[in-house]
């Protein structure tokens, strides 16, 4: 397992280089001139051609593209992610400042999503086609398809404007977390509920469950020990994907709730053609997904003893 983990960690490096190269190429195709955007923001007015050329030189954008990329990747390997075109601060400072804000929303939201989805999914599976199943299925369908900005505004209107139970936006006290965490957890909770429901349902129909029941095992143990445990691989896979997305930040939620996380940072960076920031962000996302996927893969072996991470078994 240790060798497998090491191999996967090493694989992350070429993956990230590939992602960064692809991002670098794609950014070049985006309409608009980063030098012009930089000059316009700096001057707070329309820049002249000379001012744009000066900005291009200042940013190093007048060098050939391969030189720009090699220079950037070389700096990254030395721990320097460059300077943001928009804030002028080192990109690493900005990411270090913003990532914790995203995580302080993402982690409670992920836990809340799990706390809702696991019991809801199990109840739905056990009470299949009964009223509770219908209600939860409709709710989860609505949750999965509801735009988060709309849900955020509805929650604000009810809990902040009408009931005065929470602030509309901003950080500060624990009350400030309630609405953004609930909004952020809603869609993953809905999706996970549906995954858990179908996985548990499938498990409940399998032979080992029938055997357990025939042996007189209590229904709670049948569901909890046999059906749920055998459904966990599906659940963990879906949860890992949701977690990756949450770590990437959700710009809409961060914008509405004035939460200075990385999601809004990326949207702003794209709008401003802030190439160093975009590339650093993509690297951060790449790392997040790679680590989450690795943890998910490693967890398979823990959840299901039949899964082996040894090279020979994997090949077999």
């Amino acid at each position: 397992m240790r060798a497998y983990a090491l191999r996967r960690v090493l694989l992350i490096v070429p993956t990230l280089i590939g992602i960064s190269l692809l991002t670098f190429i794609l950014v070049q195709f985006a309409p608009g001139d980063p030098a012009e955007q930089f000059a316009a923001r700096s001057l707070a007015r329309t820049p002249t051609k000379v001012e744009i050329d000066n900005a291009r030189h200042y940013l190093g954008l007048d060098r050939p593209l391969p030189v720009q990329y090699v220079s950037w990747i070389s700096d990254v390997l030395h721990g320097d992610l460059g300077r943001s075109y928009s804030t002028r601060e080192p990109v690493s400072h900005e990411l270090r400042r913003r990532v914790p804000y995203t995580l302080e929303l993402a982690i409670p939201a992920a836990l809340l999503a799990l706390a809702i989805a696991i019991p809801a999914g199990i109840i739905c599976a056990v009470k299949r086609n009964r009223l509770v199943d219908q209600v939860v299925r409709i709710t989860s369908l609505a949750g999965a398809s509801m735009p988060s900005f709309w849900l955020a505004l509805i929650l604000i209107i009810i809990f902040a404007v009408r009931l005065h139970l929470t602030p509309v936006a901003g950080r500060g006290s624990l009350r400030n977390f309630i609405l953004p965490v609930v909004t952020l957890s809603f869609a993953p909770a809905a999706t996970l509920t549906r995954f858990i429901r179908s996985a548990v349902l499938e498990a409940l129909g399998s032979d080992y469950v029938t055997t357990a029941r025939a042996k007189g095992v209590r229904e709670a143990l049948v569901v909890g020990r046999h059906a749920l445990r055998n459904s966990l691989i599906t659940v963990v896979t879906a949860f890992g994907t949701s977690l990756g997305h949450m770590f990437a930040g959700v710009a809409v939620i961060e914008t509405i709730f004035v939460w200075p996380g990385v999601g809004k940072l990326l949207v702003d960076a794209i709008g401003q053609r802030d190439i160093p920031m975009i590339q650093a962000f993509i690297l951060y996302i790449g790392v997040c997904f790679a680590v989450v996927n690795l943890l998910v893969d490693l967890s398979y072996a823990v959840i299901d003893p039949r899964v082996s991470l040894k090279k020979t078994s994997a090949a077999a």
Binding site: A44, R97, A160, A169, G170, T255, G271
Partner: protein, 540 residues
């Protein structure tokens, strides 16, 4: 099933009761406000909701830092000259100023003023904290064009400023808060120190900025003890923050929210007109972007638009019928020189007929087999800022037989690309008057001379070197007299709008600020960056 039903009913009932309690609370609060005698609370904290955070904390050769200064001005620093709410120049840190030919401006500095750190304001500190700073940080020396040797201290409270190039617009340019005076030696990217009515407390990027009253302020002491301004990029969240009572004042109330806020007992204060909505025509490019090189087609477009309906219905009354483009206040008594266009659908049709564009079988005009179809780029500063105006214009053009497609741009960079590619026929633009010089926008955008930039607009809408517009505007850059300046700019705008129809004005824009009734003394300014806070009080 029964227990579930009972739970659902119980939850619903709880929600209804809670909602009703929330409503009662609000009603009783507003009743109390009307009964009690309002009294300003000098210890109050004013909470403000601004739009997005655009502060810079790091300087480069092309920009200075601007925390607390631009575009949200927290009145930490002050300029030598103030831009009044009616476009007037008023003394601030300079008690008066005078022009000394050929290119020098003498400023008489206010006495008895100190910076927040205790340094005195005098000619030496103004030299270091304003003009020398601009010359040192910015390669161009800022808009006023300050050089290393531009400023000479005449005596303790008098200094002479001579720009590195001939610049007769210095007083009008100095009103911009980025030309504020900061305490020499202070790091104003991290902790700005000025002479203003408020002192810097803290700044959290993308979150908030906090200032507190300067009890040693030389002028009227601030009416509140503290201001916390929070950045709400989303207009819905901004409005809801006001409704929930989280903030006292919000910037930039969308036109569609004004009636709703007023109906709920909030005040919406409008400024004078300080911005405009207009379409720039692509007047000098080859096919397929040559349709609007015909002045008759441009005038037909301008005449086909019913601006009253636009303001009344599309903007819900949150606009004016001004067609001066440069805000009329900036042109003073010469604003009437610019006439704009009256709606005349039949006149527009006649112009198009005479230009050879005949109505086809589908109602769209055509000439030599080519359809009269315009590409409209939406727009600056964002497509959202124009709301439904492009669609409204599209429907009006259709009525005279002009087909069009609207290209909505996703961000400023995409819009600029359409400008540099010159691939649009009409460009939707909103422009602001942030500078006190009426020549600022025409010089920046449409003039081709060396005095200003011209930028991306010159190859599209700028009439070009030797044109009547350029000839009319040119003296404005070397005109020290403000009245003559206004006349010169008004004549130039008359040419580019009324005679050339290169710029097709749609409406005037004022700034709307929403606030609680407990907020008093707020003076809405047409430029966000010029708002003054010392007059504002919060009643208990």
């Amino acid at each position: 099933v029964r227990p579930i039903k009972r739970i659902v009913v119980l939850l619903f009932a709880m929600a209804m009761v809670a909602t009703a309690c929330g409503s009662d609370k609000k009603t009783s609060e507003s009743s109390a406000t009307t009964v009690a005698t309002p009294k300003a609370n000098p210890n109050a904290e004013l909470k403000v909701a601004f739009t997005d955070d655009q502060y810079f904390t790091q300087a480069t050769p092309t920009n200075d830092v601007n925390v607390g200064v631009y575009p949200l001005n927290m009145n930490i620093s002050e300029t030598l000259i103030l831009f009044g709410t009616n476009y007037e120049l008023k003394p601030l840190l300079a008690e008066r100023w005078e022009f000394r030919p050929p290119n020098t401006w003498r400023f008489f500095i206010r006495k008895g003023v100190t910076f927040h750190d205790g340094q005195p304001l005098n000619a030496t500190t103004v030299k270091a904290g304003l003009f020398d700073r601009l010359a040192r940080v910015l390669t161009t020396g800022g808009t006023v064009r300050a050089g290393a040797n531009s400023t000479v201290v005449v005596d303790d409270y008098t200094l002479d400023f001579t720009p590195v190039v001939t610049n007769y617009r210095v007083p009008e340019q100095l009103v911009h808060p980025q030309n504020g005076v900061f305490a020499p030696g202070s790091d104003f990217g991290k902790k700005p120190v000025g002479t203003g009515a408020f002192k810097f407390v803290s700044y959290s990027p993308k979150e908030s900025i906090v200032v507190e009253r300067n009890d040693n302020y030389w002028g009227q002491k601030a009416g509140v003890a503290r201001i916390t301004a929070r950045f709400y990029p989303d207009p819905n969240a901004r409005r809801l923050a006001l409704e929930a009572g989280d903030v006292d004042v919000i910037y930039q109330v969308p036109a569609t929210d004004v009636k709703g806020l007023k109906a709920k007992g909030f005040i919406v204060a409008n400024s004078a007109v300080g911005a405009y909505e207009a379409m720039y025509a692509n007047i000098k490019n080859p096919a397929p972007r040559d349709i609007l090189s015909d002045i008759n087609v441009r005038k037909a477009v301008a005449m086909s638009i019913d601006r009253k309906q636009l303001v009344d219905n599309v903007l819900e009354g949150q606009g004016t019928l001004d067609q001066t483009v440069i805000p009329p206040g900036a042109l003073g008594s010469y604003a009437s020189t610019v006439k704009g266009f009256q709606t005349d659908v039949n006149g527009a049709k006649t112009l198009l007929d005479n230009a050879g564009w005949k109505v086809g079988s589908d109602g769209i005009r055509e000439k030599n087999g080519r359809k009269l179809k315009l590409t409209m780029i939406d727009g600056f500063p964002t497509a959202d800022a124009h709301g439904a105006i492009p669609e409204y214009v599209q429907s009006q053009l259709k009525a005279v037989g002009i087909d069009s497609e609207i290209v909505k741009t996703s961000d400023a960079a995409s819009y600029t690309k359409h400008l540099t590619d010159k691939d649009g026929d009409l460009y939707f633009e909103q422009g602001n008057q942030n500078d006190a010089s009426p020549a600022f926008l025409p010089g920046l955008l449409w003039y081709s001379g060396p005095e200003t930039s011209g930028g991306n607009y010159q190859p599209i809408v700028g009439p070009g070197a030797g044109s009547t517009f350029d000839n009319l505007l040119k003296p404005a850059f070397t005109e020290p007299d403000h009245d003559k300046l206004q006349k010169e700019v008004a004549d130039a705008m008359h040419e580019i709008i009324d005679n050339q129809a290169a710029i097709i004005p749609l409406n005037g824009i004022f700034r709307s600020y929403g606030m609680k009734k407990s907020v008093q003394g707020f003076q809405p300014h047409f430029a966000f960056l010029q708002v003054r806070w010392e007059t504002v009080t919060v009643t208990s």
